[in-house]
């Protein structure tokens, strides 16, 4: 029995076909695509081909709208900083409280430089208030950056609609679609989205390759200046092998799109129902009716996530947690806090994220493994009695807070 990998929102396994496609670019196809000779030529053609495959997966109108970058984080930074540089008179940015640190941390930094950051709040299920959003759109806003799907809960934001609203107000719109690409059908040419970030390693391509989609005609300033690579929009010799790999991964993602939304979704639902049926005081976080087909985030009350992960890991199951301790911070995940999940539950959230490689048999093994782990930890918990939470847990156990 092999180990079970349920942490695909963190990163995915590179498909064997993808590895095969990229290998020649380390050996015989080592040329620089900018070179005049045939060594470089072939590599250049492979990159053209890969760009078309990314274009197809995103439903972009033109292949020139695809800019290869080094990762999702670089794409996010490029998009936001570009919008600020193009429009120096606009000094406000709209994001959400639950963005990935790639956006949040950058914006915190910009705030210190004097920019005004509006962070849209979410409700208990992680949903936005579009009225609040509409009221913030103005000619002072340089860019809106809202993720398509949340990495922790899988909750989807209505980015297509939000991009329309931004467009109507004359404001640039960027979406961090790192978790959405490959899991949801996307057709950018029929949206008003100006910029989109994706990251290869979330869709079975290698780590260290990303894309910034830049709508034709959208004003733009590069982050890295230098050579003419990517039409001068992202200088630096192309990561040819990884670009080819990403092309192949995008092609495969197209083929598996309906599978992700039927089979993978079924497995996820089976896992979730199986766990909730057996474990009391556990609930799904985020919006169960509107989320990625592969993601399930469960809060186990009165126990702590890192402890759960360590025991799961011992049972050969890989998942992740929004607990403070897994990140080394003292606070539980900002996503859980933004949704108002109580601390006693927020620390015990576990994210199971599937891929097309998971099986029903694996789900059943996880369903069998989780209840005893939760019970074992609850036995150690001061908030838990013989058969359930102690009455009024917050009162029965009221430690002196440090």
């Amino acid at each position: 029995m092999g180990d079970i990998y349920l942490d695909n929102n963190a990163t995915t396994r590179v498909e064997p076909e993808v590895v095969e496609a990229m290998l020649p670019f380390f050996t015989e196809q080592f040329g620089n695509p900018s070179s005049m000779h045939s060594f470089g030529n072939q590599v250049g053609r492979a990159i053209v081909d890969a760009r078309k495959k990314v274009q197809a997966l995103l439903g972009a109108a033109h292949d020139s709208e695809i800019i290869f970058t080094s990762c999702g984080t670089e794409s996010d930074s490029t998009a936001i900083l570009s919008a600020l540089r193009c429009q120096p008179e606009r000094r406000e940015i709209i994001i959400t409280t639950v963005e990935h640190p790639a956006v949040l941390t950058l914006c915190e930094h910009l705030e210190k430089d004097g920019y005004t950051i509006h962070r849209l709040k979410v409700d208990g299920k992680g949903r936005l208030d579009l009225k609040e959003y509409a009221s913030l759109l103005s000619e002072r806003v340089a860019i809106v950056s809202v993720m398509w799907a949340n990495n922790e809960t899988g909750t989807l934001f209505p980015v297509v609609e939000m991009a329309e609203m931004a467009h109507a107000a004359g404001v640039m719109f960027h979406t961090d679609a790192v978790q959405a690409v490959g899991k949801l059908p996307i057709d950018l040419k029929h949206t008003k989205i100006d910029m989109l970030s994706l990251s290869g390693h979330k869709l079975h391509a290698p780590k260290g390759i990303g894309v910034l989609y830049l709508r034709r005609g959208c004003r733009y300033r590069p982050l890295l200046r230098g050579g003419h690579q990517e039409r001068g929009r992202r200088a630096g010799t192309e990561n040819a092998a990884s670009i080819v790999a990403l092309g192949k991964a995008c092609e495969m993602a197209m083929e598996y799109m309906s599978f992700e939304n039927t089979e993978v979704r079924r497995l996820r639902d089976h896992l979730e129902r199986g766990i909730l049926a057996q474990v009391p005081n556990a609930f799904v976080t985020g919006d169960p009716d509107n989320r990625l087909p592969n993601t399930c985030n469960i809060a186990f009350e009165y126990i702590e996530g890192e402890a759960i992960l360590l025991l799961l890991n011992k049972a050969g199951i890989a998942a992740s947690s929004g607990s403070a301790c897994t990140s080394g911070s003292l606070e539980p995940s900002h996503v859980m806090r933004a949704m108002g999940i109580p601390y006693t539950a927020a620390h015990g959230t576990v994210r199971f994220s599937l891929s097309r490689h998971n099986t029903l048999e694996e789900m059943d093994r996880v369903i069998a493994a989780v209840p005893p782990i939760v019970a074992q930890l609850r036995k150690l918990s001061p908030y838990w009695g013989e058969n359930g939470p102690v009455e009024e847990p917050e009162k029965a156990f009221a430690p002196t807070y440090a």
């Binding site: 900083l81 540089r85 120096p88 000094r91 406000e92 409280t97 705030e111 430089d113 004097g114 920019y115 005004t116 950051i117 509006h118 962070r119 849209l120 709040k121 300033r221 982050l223 009165y302 126990i303 702590e304 996530g305 890192e306 402890a307 992960l309 360590l310 025991l311 890991n313 011992k314 607990s323 403070a324 301790c325 897994t326 080394g328 911070s329 003292l330 606070e331 539980p332 601390y343 006693t344 620390h347 036995k379 150690l380 918990s381 001061p382 908030y383 156990f397 009221a398 430690p399 002196t400 807070y401 440090a402």
Partner: protein
């Protein structure tokens, strides 16, 4: 995943003394639910000999919190109360062959629970005497609280000074922004305390680490602004060589507003350039100042956090 020692893993997977002891006569409850840790320690102490006969723990927390609790109960069993009180959090960490720096607070919690339980046994009131801040410098394990104390006590105003006093910031440099934030906060507080004193430099309590030659004994507001002007004039030729320029717009307390011009305006390196000007001004003035683009001045009051 954390790099836990085998001993930590062993105590986590097979915790000793889990659960409460029967009829305890010493109970300590400490923790902080916001950082995901809470611990109840129950002891059975022989009232005649003061020897701890039995110990049990209940912990809401991560792997190392559970392991620290388990280790603590093993360590104290058979000890006399006075002896047990001598256990430090470092002793608990050592018993476990070490803890990652981010996890040292788990051992601190164990020590506090023990102190609380013994106070309870003796019928005393226990109060938490320790304050812990967020870990700022991972290289040297220095937290925000410690840095703040040292900055206050010694009137520090630059990252280099903080490094000289605490080591924090002397390694990989990743914590410099965090240290600067603490400096900014403390200095802003000082200003609040004495709003009329903006014109006067902060009195230097402790001997500064480095000599600060450029700093006259007492500058008037006007002298201070002139000095700022001079420094900026000094820096202009270098920026002009890069087809940029800078102009002083306003000085508001600790904040110096400038206009970046030419190639500098809107350049993505602008914030780095601002940082450089800030560093130079601080060196010359011997006090902490923040350099901001003038365009930020109007939008300042509007800064909103959508929380």
């Amino acid at each position: 995943m954390w790099d836990y020692s085998d001993k930590v893993k062993e105590h986590f997977f097979n915790p000793r003394n889990a659960g409460a002891v029967v009829e305890p006569n010493a109970v300590g409850e400490v923790g902080s639910i916001s950082c995901g840790d809470a611990l109840r320690l129950t002891l059975k102490v022989d009232p005649d000999s003061d020897v701890i006969l039995d110990a049990g723990f209940q912990t809401f927390g991560c792997g190392s919190a559970i392991a620290s609790s388990s280790a603590l109960t093993e360590m104290v069993k058979g000890m006399k109360v006075e002896e047990a009180l001598k256990i430090t959090n470092q002793d608990i960490a050592d018993f476990l062959d070490g803890l990652p720096p981010e996890k040292m607070h788990c051992s601190v919690m164990g020590r506090e629970a023990l102190a609380a339980a013994i106070a309870n046994y003796r019928g005393e009131e226990w109060s938490d005497d320790h304050e812990e801040g967020a870990l700022i410098c991972k290289c040297f394990g220095i937290d925000a609280h410690m840095i703040e104390e040292v900055v206050r006590a010694n009137d520090l105003s630059t990252v280099e000074q903080v490094t000289n006093y605490t080591k924090a910031g002397g390694g990989c440099s990743s914590c410099h922004e965090g240290i600067e934030e603490i400096l900014f906060k403390v200095l802003a507080e000082r200003e609040d305390l004495a709003p009329e004193c903006i014109a006067e430099p902060e009195p230097v309590a402790a001997a500064p680490v480095e000599p600060e030659p450029a700093r006259p004994a007492a500058m008037t507001n006007l002298q201070r602004i002139r000095r700022i002007e001079q420094v900026i004039e000094m820096l202009r030729p270098r920026l002009q060589a890069d087809h940029g320029d800078v102009e002083l717009v306003d000085v508001d307390g600790k904040t110096v507003y400038v206009n970046m011009k030419g190639a500098c305006a809107g350049c993505q390196m602008a914030s780095m350039t601002l940082g450089g000007i800030q560093q130079r001004l601080m060196e010359e003035l011997g006090e902490f100042v923040r350099v901001m683009p003038a365009s930020a001045q109007q939008s300042q009051p509007a800064v909103s956090r959508g929380h």
